[in-house]
């Protein structure tokens, strides 16, 4: 074989790719199968998707034994090989989060699709969900800017369609349009930033950029800095950081409820994963640019999100979902805090620990937020308007569900008995105190108190005497499974917080 061909044809580590590829393959399978399946058999598609996501999750197990990398090249005059796809602890944890989040979304969707009575096209729905999940799973593994953007778009484009999927629903279409236009603008800005970075460094590989960006010609210094800022904007948008958050409440209300849950967890995971990769891995030498920017972004995001949640009236239509939407903006602020703190640490090991705090917090947040959405999906079946006021007296009719929701909300608030919520906040606080960002710690402390107000108000409502005739909510099997799964995870983590907090203590990369 000629040398040229040898460098073009490389062996691919299919096992490393398996979780992502399987998710995408099941998505295609479902889309094709939809054409041949009788109308009555359509629910089968949902269960195939659930099984596919579970299998993809299981495929993470063989990867636990060590780091893997594939699609590697040795660039001209580079000392080491640069890889486009890397499986390390960070990748595995985020892929677990994404696939687990998608699995829970799928469980919620099974009931939602059944209830919608053909309002939502099944084949398309599952295909889009699985494609988006595949993109989100690809993102943490991608280690060059091109793959990163492709993954980001694969995760986002199906999400626009999912938001607007409800036939003939004006609100749904409007939400999708809002989401789409603002997202596309953000992506365009990111691409511009990436082109600046490529112009100054001549490479797309993150590790290479980290190396070369330090030796950029001083003439191009401003260009590189502009590239850094513009690249971050796209990811900040996905994380729904302020001021790129305005699409969140309307989109969540307009979207089918499981999709709102999906965006609040997996959508955010996509955003902060990208942020971590671009900042901590690719541009550690520009910490003085993105550090203060992210710190300010975090402070703004949590404050605006929590104040927005505080201002939600309980009797407004869809106030439960709106509240969760605003609260997810606030929580995104907490997620950004350790990334900002990573900029203020001296060595890369410390930065890894700070980023680990974000990952640990995200795992906690994913479990309890999806749990809260599962209860919202349950109550939303009987009360189409899904107001916070509709949760009044839930304890009288569904005691276990009410206790679980109370537990989830207190975890989000970070107060015992939600022990894992408390310790997740403690790790974030610990990262920021360690970095010496006193002002950010104080802003976050005030935000924790603001957030408690609306979480506890909702919690207290669950245990009030019901108004009028109480409605008992029957529990369909998929919703029960989702509730049980999130509940067990939340309670187990409260007993053994080390299960997730260990990521804040070990190097992830």
């Amino acid at each position: 074989m000629s040398p040229l061909a040898a460098s073009a044809v490389q062996s691919v580590d299919w096992l490393a790719l398996a979780p992502t590829v399987l998710t995408a393959a099941v998505g295609l399978l479902v889309l094709v199968a939809d054409l041949f399946l009788a109308e009555a058999r359509k629910p089968l598609l949902g269960w195939v998707s659930v099984a596919g996501l579970a299998a993809s999750g299981l495929l993470l197990l063989p990867l636990l034994d060590g780091d893997r990398a594939t699609f590697c090249v040795r660039e001209a005059d580079a000392a080491t090989r640069a890889c486009s796809y890397t499986v390390d602890t960070f990748t595995l944890v985020i892929q677990f989060l994404v696939l687990g989040g998608a699995l829970l979304t799928a469980l919620l969707s099974v009931t939602a699709l059944k209830d919608s009575a053909r309002g939502l096209p099944e084949g398309e729905y599952w295909f889009l969900l699985l494609s988006s999940a595949a993109g989100a799973a690809l993102l943490p593994a991608s280690r060059d800017l091109a793959t990163l953007v492709v993954a980001l778009e694969v995760a986002s484009l199906p999400a626009f369609a999912l938001v607007g999927l409800r036939h003939g629903d004006r609100k749904s279409s409007e939400a999708a349009l809002k989401f789409f236009l603002s997202s596309v603008t953000a992506t365009a800005v990111t691409l511009m930033g990436i082109s600046f970075l490529y112009a100054t460094t001549g490479t797309l590989y993150l590790t290479e950029i980290a190396d070369r960006v330090q030796h950029v010609d001083s003439q191009f210094h401003t260009l590189a800095q502009a590239g850094v800022v513009l690249t971050l904007i796209g990811f900040a948008f996905k994380t729904a950081a302020v001021p790129f958050h305005f699409w969140v409440p309307d989109t969540y209300v307009g979207a089918p409820l499981p999709i709102a849950a999906y965006l609040s967890v997996v959508g955010k995971a996509v955003g902060f994963t990208g942020l971590i990769l671009v900042t901590v891995v690719a541009l550690p030498s520009y910490a003085d640019v993105w550090g203060p920017a992210l710190a300010a972004l975090a402070a703004l995001t949590m404050t605006v999100g929590n104040v927005g949640a505080l201002r939600q009236g309980v009797a407004r239509a869809h106030s439960a979902v709106r509240l969760l939407a605003w609260s997810s903006v606030g929580q995104a602020g907490y997620l950004l805090v350790p990334i900002a703190a990573a900029a203020y640490t001296d060595d890369s090991g410390e930065a890894g620990h700070a980023v680990g705090s974000t990952v640990a917090y995200a795992l906690m947040y994913a479990a309890v937020n999806l749990g809260a959405f599962a209860v919202a999906a349950l109550v939303g079946r009987a009360h189409a308007r899904n107001r916070v006021a509709d949760y009044r007296g839930l304890y009288a009719t569904n005691p276990l569900t009410a206790l679980l929701l109370a537990f989830f909300l207190l975890c989000l608030a970070g107060l015992p008995p939600g022990v894992i919520g408390l310790f997740a906040k403690v790790t974030v606080f610990s990262a920021v105190v360690d970095a010496g960002l006193g002002w950010l710690a104080v802003v976050m402390a005030v935000n924790v108190v603001i957030a408690l107000f609306y979480y506890l108000k909702w919690t207290a409502l669950l245990f009030r005497a019901p108004e009028g005739e109480p409605v008992r909510h029957p529990l369909p099997a998929p919703l029960t499974a989702a509730l049980a799964l999130t509940g067990i995870v939340g309670i187990a983590l409260s007993g053994a917080p080390q299960l997730v907090l260990r990521f804040a203590d070990t190097g992830l990369f």
Binding site: P416, F423, F429, L452, R502, D505
Partner: protein
């Protein structure tokens, strides 16, 4: 008693209330159904708190009284290695009396509620919250890890919020919100200080920090940490001017809630000052000690003046609010004692802590009993000009109220006397480096505060207990048997602590000496 039995007892003390709280939510098992579900769950509360009290007493009996400065019944297991959190438990002479006081007061509250359930929703949740509250408070006094301390500190917030918001009196929703938002803001800021100490010193272990005595912390770190932690603890204590949540919370809380709030929850703040700040950051504490003392003295005078204003005729003073303000004054003495940084002052503070728990607990019980009988705790409505004449209408209740009032004003021979006197003594001769003239001034003002305390307490006794019995006034039911059962232990202990202060001081003094000397002696 062997160490492993002691370890078990302490672990049991913390776990039993939490398991009991869960069990209270489940339906009663067959054979324990009782007359009704309500009765069964209230009985469950009495049983669990009773067993916990027995365990606490057994722990106190097994405690090696010859070495009260040594941590006993210690357990030290790694829990969350990522955050360096260890399940480190132990008791010494400082925490043991507080553990027993908590177990006792909670048991008495459960007993009282069994016969007189708080007005409100079903008692199932009430019992569960009461037990959760007990678990959190006991844990606060028994853990030796900063982050675990924070966890325990936060655990009491939710149960207390619901106790006030669901079973409280007028304006309860607002009072409950004020309580939880104020204390949460304080404790989150405290967390920042705890993390700062833990990260800079490299350990969250209280014993290790006490032994280190602030040597591995720079002066500026100590100052910032003491400020942050101090604010959190001061909100809880409460210290003037951060006290404003307390009168509302007490006025709105049900009797049992008030008793536990004043008797136990406030002590968590002062305990933190002694256990964490004094030994771990002595330099930082030294910087703030004069300010702490000044604010403490301001609290003494402010609390007393507020009480005098409430006790006046025509002020429509609420008795519960009055006792709440008197708590601000009493806790001022405790803080003054701590601020002197001397063994005398700190011992006085710890003594006053316990005394306040006993006496104010009793006062809130009595006022609760009075409200049940007359339907009001408004002093003007009670007294109707001449005086409520409790001596004539319910002589035993009147007598007990007068007893609690004079105990509260610090009559020698009763528990209230020693702590406040020792705190004043401590201020007379503060630790080296603290300005003596300043502390002498504080002492003089605080001593004047005791006079004011005597004044308002006597006004209360005159207006509630004395007066001519009007012809048409119906006789009030005197003290019930169950009320005797709930109140007698507090009366007996008040007298005992007053006559035999050595029993308590002998426990606290060696431990305090050791803490002030830097963990090792």
């Amino acid at each position: 008693m062997s160490e492993s039995v002691m370890q078990f007892l302490l672990a049991f003390l913390l776990l039993a209330p939490l398991l009991g709280a869960l069990a209270a939510l489940l339906p009663a098992p067959p054979g324990l159904k009782g007359r009704s579900p309500e009765q069964a769950v209230l009985r469950h509360g009495v049983t669990v708190t009773g067993v916990v009290l027995l365990a606490a007493i057994a722990l106190a009996l097994g405690f090696d009284h010859d070495h009260p400065s040594k941590m006993q019944a210690t357990t030290d297991i790694s829990w969350i290695p990522a955050l360096h959190v260890r399940l480190h438990l132990g008791v010494d002479g400082i925490s043991l009396p507080l553990l027993v006081l908590t177990a006792l007061l909670t048991f008495l509250c459960a007993l009282y509620s069994y016969f007189k359930p708080a007005a409100g929703p079903a008692p199932k949740a009430f019992v569960s919250l009461l037990l959760l509250l007990e678990g959190g408070t006991l844990a606060t006094f028994a853990v030796l890890d900063l982050l675990l301390f924070f966890l325990a500190f936060e655990t009491v917030l939710i149960p207390m919020y619901f106790l006030i918001a669901r079973w409280g009196g007028a304006d309860r929703a607002r009072a409950a919100w004020r309580f939880i938002l104020y204390t949460l803001l304080g404790s989150v800021i405290m967390l920042l200080g705890l993390l700062l100490i833990g990260i800079k010193a490299g350990t969250f272990d209280m014993v290790a920090l006490a032994t280190d005595n602030g040597r591995s912390l720079t002066a500026s770190v100590q100052v910032v940490a003491v400020l942050a932690i101090g604010v959190g603890l001061a909100v809880k204590t409460p210290m003037w001017p951060l006290h404003s949540w307390l009168p509302d919370a007490h006025t709105a809380a049900p009797t049992v809630g008030s008793v536990l709030l004043a008797g136990v929850l406030l002590k968590m703040g002062t305990y933190g000052f002694v256990r964490i700040l004094l030994p771990a950051a002595p330099h930082g504490f030294h910087t703030f000690a004069p300010y702490l003392a000044a604010l403490a003295v301001a609290g003494i005078i402010y609390g007393s003046l507020a009480c005098l204003a409430l006790a006046r005729e025509g002020a429509k003073g609420d008795l519960k609010r009055l006792i709440a303000y008197s708590s601000v004054g009493h806790m001022g003495f405790v803080l003054l004692g701590i601020a002197t940084m001397t063994p005398t002052g700190v011992n006085g503070a710890l003594f006053a802590n316990i005394a306040h728990g006993l006496i104010t607990g009793l006062l809130f019980f009595l006022v609760g009993g009075l409200k049940d009988r007359t339907g009001t705790v408004d002093l003007d409505a009670l007294a109707k000009g001449a005086g409520a004449a409790l001596y004539g209408r319910a002589p035993r209740l009147g007598g007990l109220l007068a007893f609690a009032a004079v105990a509260s004003l610090g009559l020698p021979g009763l528990a209230g006397f020693w702590g406040e006197m020792l705190a004043l003594f401590g201020a007379f001769d503060p630790a080296a480096g603290l300005s003596r003239p300043a502390f002498l001034t504080f002492m003089a003002i605080a001593a004047f505060g005791t006079l004011l305390t005597a004044a308002y307490m006597l006004v209360v006794v005159r207006r509630v207990c004395m007066g001519a019995v009007p012809q048409e006034a119906s006789k009030l039911t005197d003290v019930h048997t169950f009320e005797y059962a709930a109140w007698a232990p507090l009366v007996v202990l008040t007298v005992l602590a007053g006559l035999w202060p050595r029993a308590l001081l002998g426990l606290t003094d060696p431990a305090v000496q050791q803490l002030l000397a830097g963990g090792t002696r």
